[in-house]
Amino acid sequence: MAHARPGRWIAVAALAVAALAMAAPLLWTLLLSLKSNDDLLRGTAVAFAPPYTLRNYGDILGHSAVFGWLLNSTIVSLGVTAGVLTLSSLAGYGFARLRFPGRDIIFILVLFGLAIPEQSVIIARHQMFSALGLHNSYGGLIFPGLAAPFGVFLMTQYFRAMPKELEEAAWLDGASRFKTFWRILLPLSLPAQATLGIFTFLSTWNDYWWPLISATNSSMYTLTVGVASSQMNFAQTNGLGFLMAQAVFASVPILIVYVIFQRYIVAGVRAAA
């Protein structure tokens, strides 16, 4: 024990330093958000001394559109998450359990989707959505997110790993294929669903590029586009406190999601690895 104690303290100290290094940018952001823009213009060292102010947060909340953007982000993120979970589960089950002509080729094509960057399809997608009149609508913001090759892959692998005996027992009891999927396999895939749901929600919440060019009407802005539009020119210089307050404000909902679903996120990262 006497030998273990110094080692333990070293490990704790190392972890504390690492934790501090991880938290430092967040704390720095928070500190800067509590200073006035004028003070920060002279240099950021003033952040360590009072006076502090909540004015930057007041300026954000005073913008009449900000709660609309929050609502838009929530609707879009939840819509994409629900859609991805539904489609990925169904597709994953199909690829894992059903036999149909061309199944493996289609699955490989889906996997190719993982390798195609969004940038390469953005113009074609924009034109398609223009033709359909979907820009500046929730549909325009939600539909592109529903194509989720990673979700299909994850759910396929998860369903493949489940013992077939479970299904066979249900069939012996007279359950249909859909009932087996709905009542037996889907509940068992909950950990994978949670992982996929959380990652989908987070990536949709943080998405900037597609909402920037699809939602050109400010009433349809998501939070990321909205807070960016509120910044004055040279915001990093003349409006640093406001900029940092925006960063804190935009990350609060995400922080809440992390706190609530922390367990699943860790499990998800482990499962994905």
């Binding site: 300026d59 959505f129 400010s218 509120s230």
Partner: protein, 439 residues
């Protein structure tokens, strides 16, 4: 069934009532702009005179227009600077806004593709005469003989001077900063300044800087009468004139006569904190530094001056300039909406003095000549810009990208990562490659 039928009738009736209301209601026009949002302080204010800064002034101006014109409602779409991605996306989707802020240097990118409308007839209909624009503003918004935008201002890089340090260096004469009249004088004065104060003469934003280097180069090429954009689709940078400019800035850098490794934020703070003599930055910083000069204890207290770039080369006095303007994207619009747009443009023109309080140069000769504009702090010291402000040739496209490429290559040369001639050759090749491949 009856209930469904009744519900349908009710829906149709409600819709018709709604449509009727819309037809009789105010004409709505959508204005897309940058300059940020400041609704918390100015969202309901129409007191333009009390507003300070770009965001506050434009917000209160639009509020006032809405208050004074009950038959028109201006809906504002604020976009992240500069907003051209959103504009292009909206144009591609066939749903552009009615009025958009646009840098004058960007107009060619849209006018040559027919994406914005010429405004000659519309401006005439509301009594806006382009002959009243300043020369720089008129050149900035005119393409192929047509006016494509209502100019709102012109801006240029300036020499912001710390007079307290200049005094210590013996570079003040009759209360004015002594400005160099040649590259040799600039070097001599910079050395004198640094010897006397122990601080660099120039403060420059030199890191992650997409445009400042290029603006410096343009200014000093214009002063040498270089025809670097004789053909708007072909730049010439492998010239003795360009070499001279880069050599000058490299020497300032090598001798420690300028700050090094500072980005825009650091350089802006450095000048506020008295860490150098001259900060090369635009018209938009006049208000901030003037305010600092009025604060007791500030390194700039009682010692701030601002002047246009000095004429270092004898051919002509010129400073590269750009400006903000208002364009109307091409779209089908009702006559009522078109009339409303031009009424708003007239209103913005009539309030150009208010906008000029941001520090930018007015776009109208009458405002420049007015006593109230000249009474604003330091405006008399920069009025020379009215005659010297010069945009690039009107047909030059992709000017933001051109500036970025030139700035990257200049940075390489000035900081010694690349020989000057190689940097100029690379800049020329890269810019011409971009311009050659334009559709």
């Amino acid at each position: 069934m009856r209930r469904i039928f009744a519900l349908l009738c009710l829906t149709v009736a409600l819709c018709m009532t709604g449509c009727q209301r819309a037809a009789n209601g105010p004409v709505e026009i959508t204005l897309q702009r940058f300059f940020g949002a400041c609704d918390a302080q100015y969202g309901a204010s129409t007191d333009v005179a009390a507003a300070e800064g770009e965001c506050a002034i434009i917000t209160t101006l639009v509020n006032r227009f809405n208050a004074q014109n009950r038959d028109v409602h201006v809906k504002v779409n604020i976009v992240y600077w500069p907003g051209y991605d959103q504009l292009s996306a909206a144009l591609a989707a066939g749903d552009p806004p009615d009025l958009v802020t646009m840098h004058q240097s960007v107009i060619s990118d849209y006018s040559l593709r027919g994406l914005i409308e010429p405004l000659d007839a519309g401006l005439k209909s509301v009594g806006v005469d382009p002959t009243g624009f300043t020369p720089a503003a008129r050149a900035g918004v005119t393409r192929g003989g047509h006016v494509y935008a209502l100019p709102f201002d012109n801006w240029a890089m300036l020499w912001h001077v710390n007079m307290n340090l200049f005094r210590a260096a013996g570079l003040v004469h009759n209360g004015k900063p002594v400005m160099p009249r040649s590259p040799d004088e600039l070097l001599a004065q910079a050395r004198q300044f640094t010897r006397a104060t122990g601080k660099p003469y120039l403060i420059q934003s030199m890191v992650n800087e997409p445009s400042a280097y290029a603006r410096n180069l343009f200014t000093f090429l214009l002063q040498q009468d270089s025809d670097f954009f004789a053909d708007p689709r072909h730049i010439k940078l492998r010239t003795p004139q360009a070499h001279r400019v880069l050599e000058l800035f490299k020497q300032l850098y090598d001798e420690g006569l300028t700050t090094k490794n500072q980005d825009y934020t650091a350089a802006t703070a450095a000048f506020l904190n008295g860490q150098g003599g001259v900060y090369l930055v635009g018209t938009w910083m006049i208000g901030t530094y003037d305010q600092a000069a009025r604060q007791r204890g500030s390194p700039l207290a009682g010692g701030y001056a601002v002047v246009p770039y000095p004429q270092l080369y004898p051919a002509r006095d010129a400073t590269y300039a750009d400006g903000h303007s208002w364009v109307v994207p091409a779209a089908q619009r009702s006559p009522e909406k078109t009339r409303a747009i031009f009424r708003l443009l007239r209103f913005l023109k009539d309030n150009d003095f208010e906008w000029s309080r941001t520090g930018h140069l007015p776009a109208y000769a009458a405002v420049i000549a007015s006593a109230r504009w000249r009474a604003l702090p330091h405006r008399g010291d920069i009025v020379r810009l009215v005659d010297t402000a010069t945009p690039l040739a009107p047909g030059v496209q992709r000017q933001f990208l051109v500036q970025q490429i030139i700035s990257e290559e200049m940075e390489s040369a000035i900081t010694g990562q690349k020989p000057i001639d190689a940097a100029l050759a690379d800049a020329e090749h890269r810019v011409n490659d971009v311009l050659f491949n334009l559709l």
